[in-house]
């Protein structure tokens, strides 16, 4: 049943010449149970061959002519479905009147009530029903077909009557012929006996019979011709009506199927319900195999799936008789790959279109053998549609929007024109629309890796539909977020280690996976800002180093340590500066500590010791200058000693050193000076 129903869904979207080729989930159609794994599912010939569409209910995939098509995920169907969901219920006066008219027609033609008068009344109402836009003039077409069939039947009757007359004439001609042939019996005896006489009699008989035979032949030929004409007319009328019924069925006008079927039975009371006429008719349709089929190839189902490496753009192409263009995008890195839209028209031409229509009609004729079967299928479809609407309303009351939307979509696909479907209120339909739109938005968000929006939509869908399974989309979202975060962390590390290429690569990978990741701009900005700060710090370091402003470097050591982390040479320069400054700082601290004890000369000597090594340090200079005033005599004595020493005045120099030592006995400078001068005065001193 479902196979037939889905066949009906397929036909109105393209009469088999338009085959939306959706991206099929992995494994779709791979029916190993049927094929034993020996060949792909779409290659399975099946009991009805590959000419008839095949539906796999396991994964909602329709296969036809080697193509796979997911019925639940199709752009054309979605658009049609959304149009229906936004439409107002068919409750205005015209809609009500139309339904009442159709119901009246069906009632008049109900078996047992279809009298001649009721048939005539129903026939009149067909014209009435065709006035409403919902009917799309189908009743008018049916009315014309019935009228034509009636005319044909009348003509056949006339021919029958004509044949009866011809039969009478032929019987008369045969009798005449017989009489003419036996006319010699009444001839004179002499003439009979005489040879000459016999010859004359024969000639006279032939002349009489010839006229009769001509009439006899003419009657027989006319009768046979009329029989052929009657058969031809009957076949043509039946075939046309059967084709119309099949068309109604294919376009899911089930009420029209039933009405037309009942008219057919009323017209042809011979009890022959077979559609052999239709089959013979469609079998004779031209199907030029060489012309092939016109196809619209379209991928309307963007799928987002995780990929670890590689990527690029592929797509585009031209058909033999048309053009096609498309694209498929797979970003590189560990990210989702999103397959976009791919559309193209191939082999578009008159021959191919005609051939496609013929193939579709032949495919339908293979499924159905009689009009009774068609009538039963239509009734079953009506029941199924009504049940689907009830199921939708029930699921709606339970807030199970996912199932409700799926049931409504199925019901709509089957019974788009049925009153129960058309009568659904807009509010009820919009709940399904809301769910459907959000579902489509979720697909779009996942396609472009807008994970924030995808997550928001998942939560919203979970709120409006208690049966919505969030695990799969959320798993994808969370995985993508995690992978993106990992790339960002790697980018941070690469930036810290100065690996610019790796940093850019990781940032790019993170952006591809989650382009609108809030942390992306934050981290990216931080890295680039850090890079800028780092460059500035390096410049400052070089400048301060050239100025020998080691104090400033020491005060900003944290900044320079971070900045020179990726420059080993500068790192070494900084290390030396900081080591020296550590000595200076220690000297300053030591001098300050000694000063606190009131030992100004000792404090000065500590500061002076560092000063002689690092004369450019401002802080040390300041401390030393302060202590110079506090230990002026000692400092003066040392300075005088050194001055005299420089002049090679060892005697007075030594006197000053002795004076300094007397002032500050613990002075190292004084002691060293004395020892140095002693050596100069007494080189061989022991």
């Amino acid at each position: 049943m479902k196979t037939v129903v889905l066949l009906l869904v397929l036909l109105p979207f393209g009469t088999a010449t338009v085959l939306p080729q959706a991206q099929v989930p992995p494994g779709a159609g791979d029916s190993k149970a049927a094929t034993g794994g020996a060949r792909p599912g779409q290659m399975n010939e099946g009991f009805i061959g590959r000419d008839v569409p095949h539906f796999d209910p396991g994964n909602d995939v329709m296969s036809y002519d080697g193509k796979l098509w997911n019925i639940n995920d199709n752009r054309l169907f979605r658009a049609r479905f959304e149009k229906y969901l936004n439409a107002a219920p068919a409750t205005d006066a015209a809609d009500v009147s139309y339904r009442q008219t159709i119901d009246k027609i069906m009632d008049l033609l109900t078996p047992g009530k279809a009298t001649k008068a009721n048939q005539d009344a129903a026939f009149i109402l067909l014209k009435e029903a065709s006035k409403y836009k919902d009917d799309a003039n189908l009743c008018s077409v049916l009315s014309d077909a019935i009228y034509s069939a009636k005319n044909t039947l009348a003509q056949v009757e006339r021919l029958k009557r004509e044949n009866e007359l011809w039969e009478k004439q032929r019987s008369q001609a045969e009798w005449n012929n017989e009489v003419a042939a036996t006319g010699s019996l009444i001839a004179p005896k002499a003439a009979k006996d005489d040879a000459f006489g016999q010859e004359n009699q024969k000639l006279a008989r032939d002349a009489r019979v010839a006229t009769v035979k001509r009439k006899l032949s003419e009657a027989g030929q006319t009768i046979e011709n009329n029989k052929v004409r009657m058969a031809s007319l009957e076949l043509t009328a039946k075939g046309y009506l059967q084709a119309l019924i099949m068309q109604f069925f294919a376009t899911r006008r089930f009420q029209h199927v039933i009405i037309a079927n009942r008219f057919y039975r009323a017209l042809y009371t011979d009890g022959d319900n077979s559609i052999e006429v239709f089959k013979k008719m469609v079998d004779g349709l031209p199907t030029n195999k060489d012309a092939g089929q016109a196809k619209i190839e379209a991928e309307f189902d963007p799928k987002v799936s995780g990929e670890s490496k590689g990527g690029g753009y592929v797509g585009g192409g031209t058909g033999s008789n048309g053009t096609g263009a498309g694209g498929r995008y797979a970003p590189s890195g560990q990210s989702f790959s999103a397959q976009g839209i791919k559309m193209g028209v191939q082999n578009l031409g008159v021959e191919s279109l005609v051939g496609g229509a013929a193939t579709a009609a032949q495919a339908v004729s293979k499924l159905i053998n009689s009009l009774s079967q068609l009538d039963g299928l239509a009734s079953e479809a009506i029941r199924d549609v009504n049940e689907g609407v009830e199921a939708y309303k029930f699921l709606l009351s339970k807030n199970e929007m996912k199932s409700a939307t799926e049931r409504l979509a199925e019901t709509f696909a089957l019974g788009e024109y049925m009153p129960t479907v058309r009568l659904l209120s807009r509010d009820d339909k919009r709940r399904a629309l809301d769910f459907s739109q959000k579902g489509n938005e979720l697909l779009a968000a996942l396609e472009v890796n807008d994970l924030t929006r995808a997550e928001k939509l998942v939560n919203e869908l979970q709120t409006i539909a208690v049966d919505f399974d969030v695990s799969k989309p959320l798993a994808k979202v969370e995985t993508a977020k995690t992978v993106s975060s990992m790339h960002l962390a790697k980018a941070r590390n690469a930036a810290a280690s100065g690996d610019k290429a790796a940093m850019e690569s990781e940032l790019r990978a993170a952006a591809e996976i989650w382009p609108r990741n809030p942390a992306l701009s934050e981290v990216g900005g931080m890295i680039f800002s850090q890079s800028d700060v780092q460059q500035r710090a390096i410049t400052d370091f070089d400048q301060l180093l050239s100025q020998k402003n080691f104090r400033q470097i020491f005060d900003d050591k944290m900044r320079f340590i971070a900045a020179t982390a990726m420059f080993p040479e500068k790192q070494e320069q900084l290390r030396k500066v900081l080591d020296d400054m550590a000595l200076v700082e220690a000297a300053v601290i030591r001098a300050q500590e000694v000063e606190k004890r009131g030992d100004f000369a000792g404090a000065w000597e500590s500061a002076e010791s560092a000063y002689r090594q690092f004369p450019d340090d401002n802080k040390l200079n300041q401390v030393r200058a302060n202590l110079t005033t506090r230990a002026a005599d000692f400092v003066r004595a040392l300075k005088q000693a050194e001055e005299q020493e420089k002049k090679d005045q060892f005697g007075s120099s030594l006197a000053w050193y002795l004076k300094a030592q007397k002032t500050y006995p613990a002075s190292d400078f004084a002691r060293q000076g004395i020892e140095r001068i002693n050596t100069r005065i007494l080189p061989d001193a022991k």
């Binding site: 005045q649 030594l654 002795l658 001068i677 100069r680 005065i681 001193a685």
Partner: protein, 130 residues
């Protein structure tokens, strides 16, 4: 009864005698003092000037008295280098080997005759303990 007349020293003679004794004492002292300094003809060392600019005193001979405060170095060939406190300052004095016989110790006072050499070093020319 009549009072006996007392005998008395004339105050003039007493003042004269006292003056004479005073002059004799001062004269003896002056004589003694000039007679105990054997280098009284040698100029005393101007220590501040020496410390400021010894070069200006180069080649001159001075006398100086002071207390040995420290022994700085000793060379068997050049002698001993000692520190001598003179006039609140300490100056280095090189005692040449010719005075090796004299035992020079810290705290002893000496009178030196010194020559300022080209390097400003005070070379001992004469030495006597005080």
């Amino acid at each position: 009864m009549a009072r006996r007349k007392k005998s008395s020293i004339n105050p003039v003679w007493l003042l004269f005698a006292v003056g004479l004794i005073l002059v004799a004492f001062v004269g003896s002292r002056l004589f003694l003092s000039s007679g105990s300094d054997p280098y009284r003809t040698i100029a005393a060392l101007d220590v501040p000037s020496y410390m400021e600019n010894a070069n200006s005193l180069r080649g001159n001979i001075y006398k100086a008295e002071g207390e040995v405060s420290n022994s700085l170095a000793w060379s068997p060939t050049a002698g001993r280098l000692i520190a001598v406190d003179v006039e609140k300052e300490t100056i280095p004095v090189l005692v040449t080997p010719e005075f090796n016989a004299i035992n020079i110790q810290k705290g002893q006072k000496f009178r030196f005759v010194l020559e300022v050499d080209p390097k400003g070093v005070l070379i001992t020319k004469k030495l006597s303990q005080l």
